[in-house]
């Protein structure tokens, strides 16, 4: 129990008539409150209990992830990606989120979480479709149970709750893990999703990657709460605070929360403290709102470096292992680069293909119009450049023809 000031309640034992029972808080708040310090394994005695295999797996994934981020950023410079929001510095959260889930579970990523999707097994080219710009979602969400990357902030959270709730109603063993940023916690959808999850006791875990910024806005302008994890008690779910750059710690906290949800224990809110090393996206200029010194300070708390220290202590960071890990990462990057350098096959008629299960009359008309335009364009392109402009003019028939009476 928390220490509570019981002002003026000295006569309350003999209070009469007894107040109606609806008044009793039904839940003890103490276990729902986060620790004051973020949970850490690396650099503490408890790190020793983590298995070698998990540490090396995390390490391989972190290195791959760092390389993936660098490659994706490079692709923006080559004009192969429309935009890329990097998760450099946040790889521990991304990787731990992916590894904490079982195959049948669902991941709900935001635009910044392609790495989590890749770590879960998604083809990186498919993961980057949205950001390349050839389609909105490049994969079938059912295949790896990864919801479409979500751009409108926090709107994916109620989806995760609904899906988890539906799975539970069907009796399926499924947990949903949803990612959101520190900025996203300010949105109404965050609030509504967490409340629904708690009231329904849905098997869902919310991971807030608190990377200190929402584009240019620092956390201090986003919230003055003791921590974002302190929001959990207001919904009646546990809130956990973890060092987001400590991969085994994030993994442990998330795995516990996922398994708790799986056992019917309801939702958990996890806040991982991390830092966005790169700008918001390649298009952003971070020097406008933060200092290099701050970035450097966080580079000193790098998730890969932290893990390497533990691996070194254990004698696991052999040259051969490091080389193998690097090679794997390079292979990923090279494959990504090569495949992203191919132009995607695009069919403009797809614009009309998936709006409804059955195309409406309106869309059939509009598709016919575009088809006619494209055919005219193709004809025009075949003819020489000197030809009269607008070869197809008048042939498009988008609006149903009007016969004169």
């Amino acid at each position: 129990m928390t220490v509570l000031e019981q002002r003026g309640s000295s006569r309350s034992a003999s209070y009469w008539p007894a107040p109606p029972p609806a008044w009793r808080p039904r839940v003890d708040p103490a276990p729902l409150l986060p620790d004051a310090e973020p949970y850490r394994l690396l650099g503490t005695d408890a790190a020793r209990q983590v298995e070698d295999g998990l540490l090396t797996e995390l390490y391989e994934q972190l290195v791959r992830g760092r390389r993936y981020n660098a490659q994706a950023t490079a692709l923006t410079r080559q004009g192969r990606l429309a935009v890329y929001p990097s998760s450099t510095g946040q790889e521990a959260c991304q990787v731990a989120a992916a590894l904490a889930l079982k195959e049948q579970d669902w991941l709900f990523p935001s635009y910044r979480d392609t790495l989590a999707a890749v770590a879960r097994g998604l083809d990186p080219v498919q993961a980057l479709t949205l950001l390349r710009g050839d389609w909105h979602t490049g994969y079938d969400p059912h295949e790896h149970r990864i919801a479409p990357l979500c751009t409108p902030l926090a709107t994916q959270l109620p989806h995760a709750v609904g899906l988890a709730h539906a799975a539970r109603l069907k009796g399926d063993d499924v947990v949903a893990l949803a990612l959101v940023g520190d900025g996203g916690t300010s949105e109404g959808d965050f609030h509504e999703a967490l409340n629904f999850a708690a009231v329904w006791q849905a098997p869902v875990v919310f991971l807030v990657q608190n990377n200190g910024f929402a584009i240019s806005v620092p956390l201090a302008k986003q919230s003055v709460a003791p921590s974002l994890a302190h929001k959990a008690v207001g919904y009646g779910m546990p809130g956990r605070l973890v060092d987001g750059n400590d991969a085994p710690a994030v993994h442990e906290v998330l795995t516990e929360a996922v398994e708790r949800a799986r056992r019917g224990g309801g939702p958990t809110l996890v806040e991982a403290l991390t830092y966005r090393i790169e700008a918001h996206t390649n298009a952003d200029d971070a020097t406008r709102y933060r200092t290099d010194a701050e970035v450097e300070e966080w580079r000193g708390h790098d998730p890969i470096a932290l893990l390497e220290r533990e691996l070194t202590e254990r004698g696991l960071l052999s040259d051969a292992f490091v080389q193998r890990t690097r090679d794997g990462a390079e292979e990923l990057a090279a494959g990504l680069r090569d495949r992203m350098n191919e132009d995607p096959a695009l069919d403009p008629m797809d614009l009309f293909a998936h709006v409804y299960a059955e195309q409406t009359g309106q869309l059939r008309e509009q598709a016919a119009q575009l088809r006619a335009e494209l055919e005219a364009e193709a004809v025009g392109a075949e003819e020489d450049a000197g030809t009269e402009q607008g070869a197809g003019r008048g042939s498009a028939d988008g609006v149903a023809g009007e016969e004169r009476p």
């Binding site: 989806h159 609904g162 539906a166 069907k170 509504e192 409340n195 709006v355 409804y356 009007e402 009476p405």
Partner: protein
Amino acid sequence: MTATATEAGRKPASMAQALNRALRDAMAADPTVHVMGEDVGDLGGVFRVTDGLAKEFGEERCGDTPLAEAGILGTAVGMAMYGLRPVVEMQFDAFAYPGFEQLISHVSRMRNRTRGAMPLPLTIRVPYGGGIGGVEHHSDSSEAYYLATPGLQVVTPATVADAYGLLRAAIASDDPVVFLEPKRLYWSRADWSPEEPEPVSALGRAEIRRPGRSATLITYGPSLPVCMEAAEAATAEGWDLEVLDLRSLLPFDDETVCASVRRTGRAVVVHESSGFGGPGGEIAARVTERCFHHLEAPVLRVAGFDIPYPPPMLERHHLPGVDRILDTVSRLQWESDWTEGSGD
């Protein structure tokens, strides 16, 4: 309450009862149909459309949610992603607005976003329109917002039979449907049986409710009875008005509408929603695009004024009534007597 409609054969029923029966039959036929919203459980909804469902199917199939419309719609999206068919109730038109981000950015786009891999078979029931003496925010006609959102279907019944048939069709649809329920017709009654003419209506078809030769009144939902009344009154003026009930606003039944207007040569669109930027503009524009040379006069509109919905004591001045419809019909550039195909 709905007992009279449970036996076969045509029995008197209200629109609310027909909607209730549609939900019940859909839930019985398909275990993935889930009803959710504010007060839809024990209370049976503020309009009693979900009456008895919680008792019959259990709270998990028809349950009260916390009070948060974006949350309701957003969790319903997630449920639909997992294969359920949620039927969401928004308590009143204006209280659907908090869910608009979910509606526009997700409900309408999920199928397209995923190239068809993740359809959302979701029905969103929205009681809409005025004429019930409701205080502020209880009488909005919000259909223009839905119409401007590609990926949605927008359907509204005007008869007891359609309330049943269209709601069944909406729930059966693999795509999201905004199902607009005209509040002031909830208690309208008709003899009706859920088995006839067809248990599930096709979506996207307009219906001629009254054939006529002089002009076409194009309308839907709460304004249908007003138009029928106006058409009766118009006979005294020598006008034989055709009345067309759109039923589905999106997709739009160009074929039926244009065939009628080509026949009559004149049209008036009637709806409660504000005129400016309302459905009538789209309807008049597309009819004109397609039937220009058949038109003896511009397509005119009778709509709510371009004002926030009025307080109860003044709403009658806002709502399209018989007189305003007939006034407008009179401005369709008639010759001294009605003759076919005069034109300019």
